[in-house]
Point group: C2
Chain length 397, copies 2
């Protein structure tokens, strides 16, 4: 039986229930079930449900290794601390857009949180052809609020420096630095792609202009401690239905650049658009791209006007420059995400699930082209519509 | 008598000697003298000298308040830890350019270090009309080595993140954020200038273009955790003679932007040039501006080619982009330093010491003009000679 002062041990379905009862999060009853529902490769996710009270609960536990490759890839348990601290911080500013945290325990690397099983993972829903009309409203609001308020614009710079320390996340940043910003741009062992893409991949590895731009983007990721970013905001980190959205899994959270999450979200919208048959089916994804940026700007501007503690916030020109820079960097980050989801280690299911092999390769080539275009042209983008405008020529190339 | 496990107490000349003897740094003798030689307002600096052995020693102790205004301005003792840790880190890469640290004690906020009394403070020497022919060679080498090797280019990003935490310096960064990057750009209480400069100061406070650029530079200072910067590299932080140079006082050290120290050093060369009567006397200062950048680039490039751990360092274009960005940011930081040393709280003695009141005001106006020019045009500067080229029109305006 797991105690509250236990040293780390892997939970089982029964010890997870015991823990939840001990913590008073759920009542002992013959109507309880517990199922491990984690489909990631890094964590256990126990869904505990009281069928009589119709009340659920999630117990998430970080594993000390990457499950998919056995115990051979050790991974810090500290990410559980980061995740629960990030969820709590984000809930200060956008409580309706993240799961509520009931309990966290750094020794067990456990976070007990709100059951969101009435929602579905957006990536899965989008692959199944569903639409989430409020997705970009909610993600834009989440980003506008959490990114503004945890930055030097709203958190006293002395306090913010303590948060930078608290959210120092070397091991998970290392994964991003390697798998997103380095390996896909070189002939690296971790890369994984169909043989039909080899020619495109090799062309990419020889593209010196692309490498110089990717290097700049990696530098920004490594050094720009602007705000508490989610760090892994793809469509697999979002639960939603028609009316509700919850952003989950911030275990990659750290103080990083404003544009990082926006870029990743947008890239994953484009990845899904690439899996669609025609422009008509793609349109609502393009609308989300434009709307997430518009909503982010609107929410961020309101916060800037009302709550900025930065003396220079009187300058409208400074606000414009800030948005211009964020959009440009987001575009570059989106480009890196498109490239790495195509030829890197972790793929996007959206593209892998395209049934026709010919079309799958064709669309993956288009993803690479779009990614390269975003990276090379990130300095020139001025509106979110510019990103959509770059989509069609990439697909038709 | 001060013990090694003491809690904080202010040293006196006799307890400083007792500490040095206890630490075995100097031998008890009737030939010892101890003089407090600190001319700053934040620390005691005890110079202990054995006249028989002809051997000296410095014991520096941080005070818990700013001495100049009594005990009314509290200041963290943690800066003694930062200073000694920074000196030790810098000495890994440029031992001949920093004072050797013999001992440090965070409880007493004390650092025992090499006696440099055979050298003189560069600002004082320059004001007295002296030249230091190797000054820019040495400062360029110091910056090229320390800035390169403590960055992600040479320190594993996981380890570097630990250094970012170790060198988190909220209180001293706060001073820079306020006194360099904020207050001089607004009608703030801390500003201090002659009434004859009011018109120029008020024009500056209304200059919206200038404010937007200063805001960007402050943002870079606040967020860009690139490398271990000295943080206060003006000519008062450098000891030198004709052949030797030592960079002292890194209590403002933190992980900041590559261009910060270079900008401050260059600004202080220009401040001294403004105190000179004619171009002939200014020339060697301009030569130092061009040469410190050239030397920095040369040393940094050699380190990049030999020791970079960054995969993208194969890209020469990335190196060029990096230098281009560093010089631009350095120019902007130099502009902020010129402005704040003229109308902010802490002045440059170079300008304050100009004997003729008319000429003093004239040269301070020129400093403001040069500072404004650097800030507004920092995005356009391409070579260090461009900075020198901006000097003459500013002076003649």
């Amino acid at each position: 039986m797991v105690t509250l002062t236990a040293s780390y041990e892997e939970l089982t379905e029964s010890s997870a229930v015991a823990l939840a009862i001990r913590l008073g999060l759920i009542q002992e009853s013959s109507h309880l079930t517990c199922t491990e529902i984690g489909d990631g490769n890094l964590n256990y996710v126990f869904h505990i449900y009281d069928h009589k009270q119709e009340k659920g609960l999630i117990i998430k536990q970080a594993l000390p290794y990457a499950k998919v490759v056995g115990e051979s890839w050790p991974l810090t348990l500290d990410r559980a601390r980061i995740e629960s601290a990030a969820l709590i911080k984000q809930s200060e500013y956008a409580p309706h857009l993240v799961p509520a945290v009931y309990y966290s325990d750094t020794a067990l690397a456990v976070t007990a949180m709100e059951d969101l099983s009435h929602l579905e993972i957006v990536r899965k829903g989008l692959i199944a052809g569903k639409q989430y009309p409020h997705l970009s409203d909610h993600v834009g609001e989440f980003l506008g609020k959490t990114l503004f308020y945890t930055s030097d614009f709203a958190t006293n710079p002395k306090i913010k420096k303590q948060f930078v320390k608290q959210f120092t996340n070397p091991d998970l940043c290392d994964i991003t630095e390697k798998l997103v910003f380095t390996d896909p741009f070189f002939d690296s062992e971790t890369n994984d792609f169909e043989e039909e893409l080899r020619e495109s991949a090799e062309a990419l590895w020889k593209d010196l202009e692309l490498q110089a731009k990717a290097a700049e983007l990696k530098r920004i990721f490594l050094t720009s401690a602007e705000t508490l970013v989610h760090g892994d905001l793809h469509t697999g980190s979002i639960f939603a239905n028609e009316t509700e959205t919850k952003i989950i899994d911030p275990e990659f959270a750290f103080y990083g650049p404003f544009g990082f999450d926006i870029g990743h979200f947008i890239a994953n919208l484009f990845l899904n658009a690439l899996s669609r048959e025609n422009e008509h089916e793609q349109q609502h994804l393009f609308d989300h791209v434009v709307n997430v940026w518009a909503t982010f700007k609107e929410v961020f501007t309101k916060a800037w006007k009302e709550d900025s503690i930065e003396a220079f916030s009187v300058s409208d020109s400074f606000l414009e420059t800030t948005f211009d820079r964020i959009l440009k960097e987001a575009t570059g980050f989106a480009g890196c995400e498109l490239v790495r989801r195509t030829i890197g280690l972790a793929h996007a299911a959206d593209l892998d699930a395209i049934p026709s092999p010919t079309r799958r390769i064709q669309q993956k080539k288009a993803a690479l082209t779009l990614g390269k275009t975003f990276i090379k042209q990130y300095h020139t983008v001025e509106t979110a519509s510019d990103l959509v405008a770059l989509f069609q020529p990439s697909v038709k190339e």
